[in-house]
């Protein structure tokens, strides 16, 4: 009896929800790879994948057909656009559409945050976020006083060449709206294709850590780290001022039925426990708790090494959400957070890129013996972006291993 696509999708979604609710699903849910491998498998360049939506949809269709992970981040390509969402946080219908900036949107804005293939970097390079310093140290007071106003009226003009004058800005925002409308059709197309193949649409929205907004979009990562030492009170007040706008923006995803809010965390690895507990965590925690009150579980991607801060997760209420780890020892994290937090991660990308199918199977078998008991676990690559020349048999080996041992 083969299952219908609808049954398959329901099964996969139930698997995810069971893990998120700290239960033991029928099988360990498997979160898949994406990245350069998707256009490479379809034989198109990263430039085509970023700029030709029709081809991008077909590439994604082929990839999820060939490699049926339960879920993946395979979608239209884009880079972090949270600063734009915050700038528009008083206009939920617009804010909700600005979380990711695509290649065509990057062209329209003429921004300095991103590097896209076929534009600043070569046609087969991955799109990359570079950020920068777009606010001076003596402007913290302006940010503290009116974060949304300062970002939308002062910072964005510096970031985007095509917002330099009011007249240019008029044209740019209209063009951006048209582009959002155009891309929405293709995003819908990915949804339709996924459903036909038995993949669920995960009800995912977004969140962000306040200090990361300052590090990624306003001051630059190296600079914000120095600011913490030089102007601790200013940084703290600015971080606090950003809590409310981020909550407003995160709640816009309720309109589209989101039940989870995905936060990529960046500065967590940079900070000692002392600094993390003073400048980063309290404000992030406020957002997580507020979203939980609104019925949204947070889905945090702890980039890099989070070992030094693991214990702080226990300050959150049981069942608050999902902790996705990149390089933290996943077995240690699972032991500590068992019965409290759904833990996700576990597959090093180096192994998928450079290992053999047998090594991959053996690794996953051993890992699952440790982390599967008791449920509340989602297996995922530490970082989901697979290089273009990742051996395809290695990707299949991941899926087979979960079939066997999950």
């Amino acid at each position: 009896m083969t299952k219908s696509p609808k049954e398959l999708a329901e099964e996969r979604l139930a698997r995810f929800e069971a893990a998120a609710n700290l239960e033991e699903p029928d099988k360990v849910p498997l979160w898949g790879l994406s990245g350069d491998i998707i256009p490479a498998c379809y034989g198109i360049t990263q430039y085509e994948f970023n700029y030709d939506y029709e081809k991008a949809v077909r590439a994604i269709e082929k990839f999820i057909k060939d490699f049926p992970f339960d879920f993946s981040m395979a979608g239209l390509s884009g880079l972090e656009g949270r600063i734009f969402s915050i700038a528009f946080s008083e206009f939920p219908d617009l804010s909700v559409n600005l979380g990711m900036i695509s290649g065509p949107m990057h062209d329209i804005l003429g921004d300095k945050y991103y590097r896209f293939p076929g534009r600043e970097i070569e046609e087969n390079a991955s799109p990359q976020f570079i950020g920068g310093t777009f606010m001076e140290a003596d402007e913290y007071d302006k940010l503290i006083e009116d974060p949304v106003g300062f970002i939308s009226e002062t910072v964005l003009k510096r970031v985007c060449r095509n917002l330099a004058t009011p007249r240019q800005a008029m044209a740019t925002w209209v063009r951006l709206g048209v582009e959002i409308k155009r891309s929405a059709y293709f995003a819908g197309e990915i949804g339709r294709v996924s459903a036909q193949l038995g993949f669920p649409a995960l009800p995912l929205g977004w969140g962000y850590a306040p200090l990361d907004i300052i590090g990624d979009f306003l001051r630059g990562i190296e600079t914000v780290v120095l600011d913490i030492h030089r102007y601790p009170e200013k940084v703290k007040k600015a971080t606090e001022a950003l809590v409310e706008p981020i909550i407003n923006y995160a709640l816009t995803s309720k309109m589209i039925g989101a039940k989870y809010a995905f936060f990529p965390l960046h500065l967590n690895e940079y900070l000692s426990p002392k600094l993390y507990n003073e400048f980063y965590w309290p404000y992030l925690k406020k957002i997580i708790l507020r979203l939980l009150d609104e019925g949204i579980k947070s889905f945090l991607f702890f980039e890099g090494q989070h070992e030094a801060h693991l214990e702080t997760i226990l300050e959150l209420p049981k069942g608050w959400g999902i902790a996705y780890f990149e390089k933290t020892d996943i077995i240690k994290a699972k032991k500590l957070l068992q019965g409290h937090t759904c833990v996700m991660g576990g597959i090093p990308m180096g192994l998928v890129t450079g290992g053999t199918p047998a090594e991959i199977q053996e690794y996953i078998k051993k890992l699952l013996e440790e982390v599967k008991p008791g449920g509340g676990f989602i297996l995922a690559p530490g970082v989901g972006t697979a290089p273009a020349d990742t051996p395809l048999k290695n990707i299949s080996a991941v899926i087979e291993a979960v079939e066997k041992y999950g």
Partner: protein, 208 residues
């Protein structure tokens, strides 16, 4: 002065340590001695990082303090200081990230290496050319994104094909590990700058 300045740097007192270094030189202090103190302090900051007492933010601040003091100290040092060895360093092709490379560079220079920085998104040919021109003891490749893994492999292959076999190759960055080292064909890997510098010393046969 020496012990007090050393402690100020290790304790991350940016303002205090820079002021003290300036005053020491203005009162006729020996710039060579000052360099030694700063280098030793950077060594301890690296050790503290490896022990888990310090984090990336302290490495960045340490590099900043060291760089600022060097700006007014190095011009006063007559002749060449003895170098541990030479490193050609770059972020590999198709990766435009510089943070990891820059932190490593600050600590490698503080440890006594001469570093030739060839930038980010560095084509394979540029690595080969720099290795031929500068004849380094070590070639350091940095990457943050996973796409960089393939670039590293291609760069190592190109260096070997060009007959550059004397230089040791170290790879560094958030996404590298033992598995990646083998895949790439490098001699050593580090996912943090402090470990990277320690391994470079070991590659040179110096106490790490």
């Amino acid at each position: 002065m020496q012990e007090e300045l050393f402690n100020k740097i290790v304790d991350m007192d940016e303002e205090g340590s820079i002021k003290m270094a300036r005053e020491y030189l203005e009162s006729g202090g020996d710039p060579q001695k000052l360099l030694e103190v700063c280098r030793n302090a950077m060594g301890v900051i690296g050790d503290k990082f490896e022990k888990g007492e310090y984090f990336l933010s302290e490495l960045i601040l340490g590099g900043e303090i060291f760089g600022n003091i060097m700006k007014f100290t190095l011009p006063l040092i007559k002749g060449d200081t003895k170098k541990l060895g030479k490193i050609v360093l770059g972020t590999v092709k198709d990766d435009i990230h510089n943070i990891g490379k820059d932190i490593f560079k600050a600590f490698a220079e503080a440890a006594g290496f001469e570093v030739v920085d060839i930038g980010v998104n560095t084509p394979v040919e540029k690595f080969v050319e720099a290795a031929k021109t500068h004849k380094p003891d070590i070639v350091g490749m940095s990457c943050l994104i996973t796409a960089g893994l393939s670039s590293m492999k291609k760069t190592v292959e190109a260096l070997k094909a060009a007959g550059i076999t004397n230089a040791k190759i170290i790879i560094g960055g958030g996404r590298v590990d033992e598995e990646v080292k083998q895949f790439v064909g490098a001699d050593a890997w580090a996912d943090d700058a402090a470990k990277g510098v320690r391994l470079c010393k070991e590659l040179m046969g110096v106490e790490g």
